[in-house]
Symmetry: C2
Subunit: 288 residues, 2 copies
């Protein structure tokens, strides 16, 4: 059995591609999937600020229902508390997920081995930029929609195929760069990735340049990485591509000369190689 | 398996006899116990307001650990979010509990039968009055401490003894009167209780009179009622008294002439009989 909990305090409550309700379902089922578990049940706890319009709550609850159906989970219990005006911020949502492990793999950073291939499930940066654009009142030629989505199906497909999945991680707060640094440090292995292979939409790249963000550090809510054994990489990638044609192999473990550095290196667009550092300074607050 | 969730937004965060942390553990393990489940695991989600002192958080977390040990549950996962100053209220806590059912009883209002005996696990009104006294800055000769506590052990003892436990309910928001009205309405049975038998401490009674509350409607956090089959009532009461000597049989189902009224009647201190109504008007907000 797997158990995970997350509270959602995102601002604004509604953003292109989703709202706090769908996000609260996606985030928690994805956490279960990242542990290699099939999500079964969710609980929902609402903390409402006095004055929240009923229509807003209703819209959020309906989104949760649709998101739960899409992710194949049942919302089985809930709780609602109301706090005085000025003591909350519209609505906060906690979701807690129960899942079941249906395989014998020990999935996690310490399972990673040298030469494992690093797969990325799709393009990067849309959730963080969608939130920022609304918050800052920025308008681009196209509306950048959050990538918020359940990643349960592709993960279960990898597991059902019996592939050697070593580690899974969703690319939420801190983005790809933070996920890789955490994993490399835990695994005490070096990871090398190729920036030129990482899919970032042109409008997201442009928004990042305007806002001063690096898409490798921006939060996603429907993207994950999978470390898989070299022999299974081709098949794993083929499976991921049935869910998102942009899925791609972006790197490898310990490919080069630093066996136990815990360091992440990046081959950049201009051909140089540099260390992809931990995030320095402030993260974007209340992104989820 | 049983799953339950609750968010805690109590104000003040600290009160005589407990704090929001111990309350968040007791409330959720008690909800599991009321479903006849043995609590196993808890998840914890914190929503912290910017500026909450670390020492306060630490004190709350330590209380949670002690409360979890006392209740025999493990806190296995957690999440922390921080919101800007003025967008929260110090700290909100969600706890979600997973438990296991180890018996074949269908516990709930619809399992109640005529002549079932109604047992009360201890004295009433302390949690609500403890909170109100702090909020209103009232001082009494003695400090009224919350009754907040886990009720897991007495419930499991009833179940282990193989007694016919028909329905369990903790007496939180709305107190004994609300619990009985909800149950009587669901079960479509009449319940008669004797007010003179209900233990209420003298200081709590006095505070209720000052504040204009009826102790039968005041919230408790460590009290419950059990409906048990008439043949098992004596043994059940003996078990409850090993945990609290004030446990007592306060009434019976459908004892009188209203077989399916869904009504709760009360024999009062002055010998009259009256309907114990649903709570009218405002409940005390943010009591848990």
């Amino acid at each position: 059995m797997a158990l995970t909990t997350d509270s959602y305090v995102v601002q604004p409550l509604f953003f292109p591609g989703g709202n706090i309700g769908s996000l609260a379902v996606h985030g928690t089922v994805n956490d279960l999937a990242m542990g290699g578990a099939r999500p079964l049940y969710l609980s929902v706890g609402f903390i409402l600020e006095e004055g929240l319009p009923m229509a807003t709550l209703w819209q959020i609850v309906q989104s949760m229902q649709r998101a739960a159906e899409q992710a194949g989970v049942q919302i089985v219990t809930g709780d609602t508390k109301v706090v005085d005006r000025g003591k909350g911020d519209g609505i906060f949502i906690n979701t807690t997920g129960v899942g079941v492990l249906e395989h014998d793999l020990a999935i996690g950073p310490t399972a990673i081995r040298s030469d494992d291939v690093l797969l990325l499930s799709g393009d990067l940066g849309r959730h963080g930029i969608a939130i920022m654009a609304v918050r800052e009142g920025l308008e681009f030629e196209t509306t950048i929609e959050s990538d918020s989505a359940p990643v349960v199906d592709p993960v279960l497909a990898l597991l059902r195929a019996g592939l050697q999945v070593r580690c899974l991680r969703d690319l939420t707060r801190g983005g790809l760069a933070s996920a890789l640094n955490e994993i490399a440090a835990s695994a005490k292995l070096a990871i090398a990735i190729d920036e030129t292979l990482i899919p970032v939409r042109e409008d997201v790249q442009g928004a990042c340049e305007i806002l001063g963000f690096d898409p490798l550090y921006v939060a996603n809510e429907g993207r994950f990485i999978a470390f898989v054994a070299p022999a299974d990489a081709t098949q794993a990638l083929a499976i991921l591509r049935t869910y998102d044609p942009q899925a791609i192999a972006i790197g490898q473990v310990n490919a080069l000369r630093e066996p136990h550095s815990g360091r992440v290196t990046l081959r950049s667009h201009i051909g140089t190689e540099r260390v992809l550092d931990w995030l320095s300074g402030e993260q974007l607050p209340r992104i989820c």
